[in-house]
Amino acid sequence: MSDQILMKGNEAVGEAAIIAGCRHYFAYPITPQNEIPAYMAKRLPEVGGTFLQAESELAAINMVFGASAAGARAMTSSSSPGISLKQEGISYIAGAELPCVIVDMMRGGPGLGNIAGSQSDYFQATRGGGNGDYRVLVIAPASVQELADMTVKAFDLADHYSIPVMILGDGFLGQMSEPFTLPEPSGKTFDKPWALTGAKGRKPNIIASMRLTPEDLLEKHNLELQKTYQEIEANEVMYESYLLDDAEYVIVAYGTSARISRSAIGELRKEGIKVGLFRPLTLWPYPYKELKAVSDRAKKVLTVEMSLGQMVEDVRLAVQNDSKVDFYGRTGGMLPVSEEIIRKVRSYGG
């Protein structure tokens, strides 16, 4: 444990991005993720990188667009209302097939809402807040360690598939400090022959999302994107199972609500109730098949969220039996209460 350090989730994301080779970070301040820009402002100059406080979230995501088009690993971070503003840019980045990492430390909404942690951006993260047929690979860590590890992985996934990857945390994860071990760089390198580097000795490279003739270009382009998405769905699903082997009751939760559910499961198991946790780590691609298999053996599937029911739609799609699916959520920056989860599961008559 001697190599463990104590850091806020937000700071761990920053350091992990630097470990991953990110040298270009652009953002606009918003609580509860302000430690990320503060950390990057201090650290990036030390490693020869560029930190720039943009004039808006719109500008920040488009600076990321430019830096990524130039071939660099680039990142931005924000929190829910700021992510809404970035959606335009995310759509363009997806359309132009550029890699980048976007961090969303979710807070309460709608509107200005509040600054406490929340999980009510599930829709705008996984369904896309921007226009067009596109996907964003969404990873939802549940600890500071996972935030750091997944940030490093996010850059590789982004470069491998040339797509935007989102780290979906929440205000509590960003603000909390936990012991963790700094991740190692993956060592992977990616050729970017499409990057804008000046057209010396070659034809010009063009980065664009516009395809003006629908019959032969945009549809073809979108079908190509779909192929990439299918490949991601086949290869990049991540989830965690906890005490599911004999589980009659399955709790499905991600991020902070998964941590709380895990504590509740500890209590319920002491009472002899066979309950386990299914924790999606990727929210898109969603582990539909894996959850289906688990739920087929279960009597009840309880979704726990820090929202009034967003991921539960994917749970229903996975389980394909609505009468089995139950939901418990808190909203507006409130956390699910362990005792409530326990009461719910007890009520199933276990």
């Binding site: 270009h24 719109l58 430019g66 088009a69 000046g198 057209a199 010396k200 000795g201 010009p204 980065i207």
Partner: protein, 251 residues
């Protein structure tokens, strides 16, 4: 006497950096002129291999089809942010943000002003034709008082929608820019002046001096609903008195 090829000398040729494709611009449009002088300047400065152009949303979104250099599209108004990202990665490349009036002074005012204010070391070419071209002739932030457009069918009423915005004067309130000039392309003399301004803007960037802003008063005969010749006159007679030509800053 029969002339032989050897007797002829090229005195004028298509710029190497201007791609030989049919233009999609309307007759009398200013974009073609500015594209051509931009290509000439790129040739003259020998920077074809090091130049990246950022195309805006608007008629000139296809800029990268005409200039034989690396090109990048930007969302409407975000060209200065995209150019910032590109330039912050490639400090040794020449980055040009080419923008129209809606792009620069309406939807992208924030990006434009803040890139200029940071003194980003790239060059902005701002095409002001007092109207939205691509979407079919709606009011621009630079539309003249009483000018009729699709969205000002009774003429621009300044009491209702405010006055045309002067880009150069606005940028000139900022400390960081090193070069600010307003030009026009309605006759040969002014085209040459515009070319000199664009060249200066790019030279500034190559020398690492900082942000240059070149506004070009341009023609849009199609959406103005008048002939190319009349359009050139309209720039001179209606636009120029309000948008004074000249250099605002040259540091």
């Amino acid at each position: 006497m029969e002339a032989k090829a050897a007797d002829f000398k090229y005195v004028y040729d298509r710029p190497k950096s201007l791609v030989d494709v049919p233009t999609h611009y309307c007759p009398g449009c200013g974009h073609g002129i500015v594209h051509k002088i931009l290509a000439e300047v790129i040739d003259e400065l020998g920077i074809r291999d090091d130049t990246i152009v950022v195309a805006p949303v608007g008629c000139s979104v296809l800029l990268y089809n005409y200039i034989d250099v690396d090109g990048c599209e930007a969302a409407h108004g975000r060209a200065p942010a995209v150019a910032t990202g590109l330039k912050r990665v490639h400090k040794d490349k020449v980055v040009i943000s080419y923008q129209g009036d809606g792009d620069l002074l309406a939807i992208g005012t924030g990006e434009a002003i803040h890139a200029a204010n940071r003194g980003e070391n790239f060059t902005t070419i701002f095409m002001n034709n007092a109207i939205y071209g691509m979407t079919g002739g709606q009011m621009a932030p630079t539309t003249m008082e009483n000018q009729v457009t699709k969205t000002t069918p009774y003429g621009r009423d300044t009491a209702d929608v405010g006055f045309p915005i002067r880009g150069c004067e606005l940028v000139n309130t900022l400390e960081a820019p090193v070069f600010i000039e307003r030009c026009a392309v309605y006759d040969v003399k002014h085209v040459l002046k515009t070319k000199r301004a664009i060249k200066k803007g790019l030279q500034n960037q190559i020398e690492g001096k900082g942000y240059s802003f070149i506004e070009v008063l341009s023609m849009c005969p199609t959406n103005w609903g008048i002939s190319p010749v009349k359009s050139a006159e309209w720039v001179k007679e209606v636009m120029e008195p309000y948008y004074k030509l000249g250099n605002f800053r040259d540091l």
